[in-house]
């Protein structure tokens, strides 16, 4: 994290458990603490079931913590999200509404914010052009390929003008070539918009490519290790190998911890 940048997101000793139907409790987040600076790109890697998506739900105010707290710009997350559209989430699946055209899907977040129809449709079309779908503005999701649908999904997230974007394995359902293009486009858009983003991913290479810092989580979600990614690291095979080995080492350490704890 850059020392000059103010803290955008602060997660302090966050705890979250769920009660199963059988009656047993499942711990999703355990004493999780980390900061994200303004305009920082943070990638989160960790084993399946590490509570990463639950953390995103908590950041969006969809779930509340059992303990600890999350603040954004110094205020509790519940207060921060009261003004709609400040955080957007890009899911693994496109989650487009099948009855809406690409334009109307992209405009959905703006519609929820209460933006007038003409303005929101214009802004939606601009974002569709920005993600390379300028000629598909009136296409239905069923008429688009998987990559095009995910581009629409990305445009929808950017359209509300969020300060923070949460990417929940956003590129993992795509073929590698499409995913590469979309990662590159997303990174360019995020830099242009000067925003903060967190990406949860199972791909170490994706974390190195998109993140300026990588957090290694254990299961349940807790910070095991963090690695700063130097500028241009993804272009240097030696640097990529070094970071990759370091991440693998810490994931295996967290796995051993989990098995010991169990």
């Amino acid at each position: 994290m850059s020392e000059q940048s103010p803290v955008k997101i602060r997660v302090e000793k966050a705890k979250k458990s769920f009660i199963q139907k059988s009656g047993g409790a499942v711990e999703a987040i355990r004493e999780l603490t980390f900061d994200v600076a303004d305009n920082e790109y943070v990638a989160i890697v960790g084993p399946t079931g590490a509570g990463k998506s639950v953390l995103f739900d908590c950041l969006l105010g969809l779930k509340s913590l059992d303990g600890g707290r999350i603040t954004i710009d110094g205020e509790p997350v519940e207060k921060f999200i009261r003004k709609k559209g400040r955080i957007a989430r890009i899911f693994q699946e496109d989650r487009l509404l099948p009855w809406l055209t690409a334009t109307d899907n992209v405009a959905l977040g703006l519609q929820i914010q209460g933006v007038p129809e003409a303005e929101r449709r214009e802004r939606a079309r601009e974002w569709l052009r920005a993600v390379g779908l300028g000629t598909f503005t009136e296409a239905l999701p069923s008429e688009m390929s998987g990559g095009m649908r995910q581009r629409t999904n990305i445009a929808r997230a950017f359209a509300t003008g969020p300060e923070i974007i949460l990417l929940d394995e956003a590129f993992s359902a795509l073929d590698e070539i499409t995913a590469m293009r979309l990662r590159s486009d997303f990174r360019a858009l995020a830099r242009r918009q000067k925003m903060t983003f967190l990406i949860v991913t199972h791909s170490i290479d994706e974390a190195i490519y998109l993140g300026t810092r990588i957090l290694v989580f254990g299961a349940p979600a807790r910070l095991v290790h963090q690695i700063a990614v130097p500028e241009g690291a993804s272009d240097s095979p030696a640097e990529v190998d070094r970071i990759r080995s370091e991440i693998r080492h810490w994931i295996s350490v967290s796995g051993r911890d989990a098995s010991t704890a169990a």
Binding site: F91, R95, L100, L108, I112, S142
Partner: protein, 268 residues
């Protein structure tokens, strides 16, 4: 070469269309031949000839006094189906959205669903003196539970991931219902409407038979009193035709409103 490639499928499509039409017509053709044959050996009171039935259909369609009876019955059915949508959709939405509403309304809807149509007819004869009210009440009581349960199933089957997506943008309860729930549930309301048309056609005549001065039920009662089987069958065929046309009308509307779904047969 390309000409041949383009032209070749045409006769094949034509042949397939002809075969499909033949398959659709064949069972009715066999039934008609069997009926006509029976009419040669049995009295008209049991098996009137196809010609007699057709003559009666023509009489109904060209005599305003008779045609208006059919239109009255049709209007009653339409009114009941629409009213059932207006009542059943909010009930189904409430049951799907709120646990308390589900716990309270589900037993009542199930109870109403368990009452046979004929019992409702007897009950309304005792309850109401107004004929239109009697008929509307019976039809609504039979159609509302179907609408409510179809819509309820729609709410329950909505994709949780889409719900999460809409809520992640900060949608209010009202926005969630307007932007996601209602567009999704609409297709279930169409299914309920199609089921209710069949329901209404089967029940309206029973309701009209008891005390109605107008409508097809009344006409059937008159025909029964003089043992006019050809007229009974003529009205029956008209009722079936009306039910099919109403269902086609709803399907056409469904294709317009839910055009995003496309026709799943096109993809197979």
């Amino acid at each position: 070469m390309s000409d041949i490639a383009v032209a070749a499928p045409a006769p094949s499509r034509l042949r397939r269309g002809a075969v499909r039409a033949l398959k659709a017509v064949a069972p009715f053709a066999v039934l008609a031949i069997a009926w006509q044959t029976a009419s040669l050996f049995f009295p008209p009171i049991l098996f009137p000839s196809l010609g007699d039935i057709a003559k009666n259909i023509l009489t109904i369609l060209t005599t305003w006094d008779m045609l208006s009876q059919g239109l009255i019955t049709f209007a009653r059915m339409m009114f009941a189906v629409m009213l059932s949508l207006l009542i059943g959709v909010p009930i189904g939405l409430a049951m799907g959205l709120w646990r308390g509403a589900d716990d309270f309304l589900r037993p009542i809807i199930k109870f109403i669903m368990g009452v046979p149509a004929l019992n409702w007819v007897i009950i309304v004869v005792i309850w109401f003196s107004n004929v239109e009210l009697r008929i509307a009440f019976v039809l609504v009581m039979l159609c509302v539970p179907i609408t409510a349960f179809c819509v309820y199933d729609g709410v329950r089957s909505i994709d949780r991931k889409l719900t999460d997506m809409v809520l992640s943008f900060g949608a209010s309860r009202a926005q969630y219902i307007r932007l996601l729930l209602w567009p999704f549930v609409k297709s279930f309301a169409f299914t309920a409407t199609k089921l209710n048309i069949g329901n209404a056609v089967r029940t309206v005549i029973v309701a009209e038979l008891v005390g109605a001065s107008f409508g097809i039920g009344r006409e059937l009662d008159l025909a029964k009193n003089v043992f006019d089987m050809a007229m009974v069958l003529a009205w029956t065929l008209i009722m079936v035709a009306v039910a099919i046309m109403m269902t086609h009308g709803v399907e056409a509307l469904e294709r317009i409103v839910l055009r995003w779904r496309g026709d799943h047969h096109d993809r197979t």
